[in-house]
């Protein structure tokens, strides 16, 4: 019998059951449902482009080739993995090489990503060793391309180098990411809170920071706070 069953993937379990609430009996019949987390993506060559058929070299390969050339031969020295997903190219860059990579991305005539759209943070508490991410979106006006550069840091050592020297616009964006995630950008001239009050405790956008809120009464029924409500995630 077992040879007819589909293989069970190796990926770690993201959640069990259908609903977020763990208390109370399971009346849905979905209590035994196991949902596994998707593995980390890493795309092979050729990367293709934002549009067009996959499997053929395209715009993204030009960017990767250009970066490989200016880095002196080996892309994997500085770029941990390359992800092509939904028509977007992402370089996961080692934090030690971030400033150097961005400098090349900005200045090399074949790359020329002049415009940075800022830094955004994401917190993945389940990805041990790379919990905190800074995500930089770049745009090349010369070649009309976009690129995402992602850099990670563990929760135990939340440091990434500041890239303000390459893109001065990162000033406030790095402060915002620090404010919300506690990611420390080494070399930033004034890494202070920007949205939260100066004396605030904690970093609110982290996943371990509660949303807060109080239950409200509506037409006689009590509606729990948003983070206490049943979730289907």
């Amino acid at each position: 019998m077992t040879e007819n069953l589909p293989g069970v993937p190796e990926e770690p379990v993201a959640r069990t059951g259908m609903f977020g609430a763990a208390d109370g009996g399971d009346t849905s019949g979905y209590g035994g449902l196991v949902v596994r987390r998707a593995p980390q993506l890493s795309s092979p060559r050729p990367y293709g482009g934002p549009v067009g058929a996959a499997g053929a070299p395209g715009d993204f390969d030009e960017v990767a080739d250009g970066l490989e050339r200016v880095l002196g031969g080996d892309l994997s020295d500085a770029v941990e993995r390359v992800v092509v997903d939904r028509g977007e190219l992402t370089f996961h860059v080692k934090r030690e090489r971030l400033v150097e990579v961005l400098q090349h991305l900005r200045d090399d005539p074949a790359l020329r990503f002049e415009l940075s759209l800022g830094v955004s943070g994401v917190h993945y508490p389940h990805e041990t060793g790379a919990e905190l991410r800074a995500v930089i979106h770049l745009c090349s006006l010369t070649h009309n391309r976009r690129l995402r550069v992602e850099v990670s840091a563990p929760d135990s050592d939340p440091h990434v180098p500041s890239t303000m020297s390459v893109y001065p616009t990162h000033d406030w964006h790095e402060r915002e990411t620090y404010d919300f995630f506690g990611l420390i950008f080494d070399g930033h001239p004034a890494l202070t809170r920007i949205e939260m009050p100066d004396d605030w405790d904690g970093h609110p956008q982290r996943k371990d920071y509660p949303l807060g809120g109080i239950p409200v009464e509506y037409r006689g029924a009590e509606i729990p706070a948003p983070d206490e409500r049943r979730s289907y995630a």
């Binding site: 993201a14 949902v35 987390r37 998707a38 993506l41 997903d85 939904r86 028509g87 977007e88 992402t90 002049e114 415009l115 940075s116 759209l117 800022g118 955004s120 943070g121 994401v122 917190h123 995500v135 979106h137 006006l141 009309n144 976009r146 995402r148 893109y167 001065p168 616009t169 000033d171 406030w172 964006h173 915002e176 809170r193 920007i194 949205e195 939260m196 009050p197 609110p204 956008q205 949303l211 948003p226 983070d227 409500r229 979730s231 289907y232 995630a233």
Partner: protein
Amino acid sequence: MSTAYDEAAEGKVFTVSGNDWDEVVGAVSGADEERLVINMGPQHPSTHGVLRLVLTLDGETVTEARTVIGYLHTGIEKNMEFRTWTQGTTFVTRMDYLSPIFNETAYCMGVEKLLGITDRIPERAQVIRVLMMELNRISSHLMAIATFGMELGATTPFLFGNRERELVLDLFEYITGLRMNMAYIRPGGVSVDLPAGAVDKIGEFLKIMPGRIKDMRKMLDENPAYTRRTKDVAYLDLTGCMALGVTGPVLRAAGLPWDLRKSQPYCGYETYEFDVPIEKTCDVYGRYLVRMAEMEQSLKIISQALDRVSGAELKGQPVMIEDKKIGWPAQLALGPDGFGNSPDHIAHIMGTSMEALIHHFKLVTEGFRVPAGQAYAAVESPRGEIGAHVVSDGGTRPYRVHFRDPSFTNLQAIPATCEGGMIADVIAAVASLDPVMGGVDR
């Protein structure tokens, strides 16, 4: 007036309480320091909401300008992580409250990219999105120019601008039921089709508006008081714009025709005929001219979109993706008592189709799932590029949504445009960046 030495503060601190200017002037002129640090905001009427500027002055010259923000932070991005993907639109529409349609479109395009349904959005929905965005662009630019006029001491542009903006808001109210914060654009399309009579109303608007823009131009374009306050003020050239990440009319007033509608078209903008107006003066006046010209171009786009909406090809076409697993809540209607469930839809789910009822129930209580991954979608808002970085972990709620708001980034140009200028020009500089604090702080 009271003076006190504060250990924490540098130098003498004056607390001005009104009717005490003689004392303040006396104390200041006798001070051994020439440097004067003043707070402009967070409640100063000229700073566009709760923006605080800390200015260091040498006489009337600004030697240092520092911007303090965060007074309007409402945690929209965090809150969205606790609501379904569709509910997210009601949050993002409240960010940059002068251009809600753009926030919604950027967010929805991000969600659609994650769902992989970008190509399946109905044509009619795309045309309505363009129509609404361009109407919104006009109302936003009008507000920018109106407040700008008032901040420079002219009240007529304010009255004109608000009067004209009211025309657009009336259209919004007629189409969506709300004047602002309408949450009209939804993942998969738009919430409701144009009601009967909307095409005629927009047609009337298109007849009135060119004359009104001309009136505004007559009042300001050559006005000596206005041009003296705006020409060669708050200079920011292309290099500065690139370094600081400044986009939108400020960038186009520095001579670069960079407009996402042309360079990276979305929602079918490549099929409309319009120009990208630029100026080469890099100053406040140039930014004003760009905004005026953009309104005229927007009218052009609206009239093209209106022809398509009322044309035979798109008449009666759906405005929400035809996918029962995503297309919620398409079946809404604007009734005489406001916006609500369409009676036809209620009859359908309660009377004739059990599957429709199940879909309705699942989508309303649980929402749709979005495959794991991340996407970035950007649109050209009246203030520049608004980008939505949307991350999903495969659930029914966003894992993380970040907005690259143009006002936030553009405000970083305050020191570059104000330092070394006169204090009166700070007002003009801030106004020409057109920051909206709801978008800056989110």
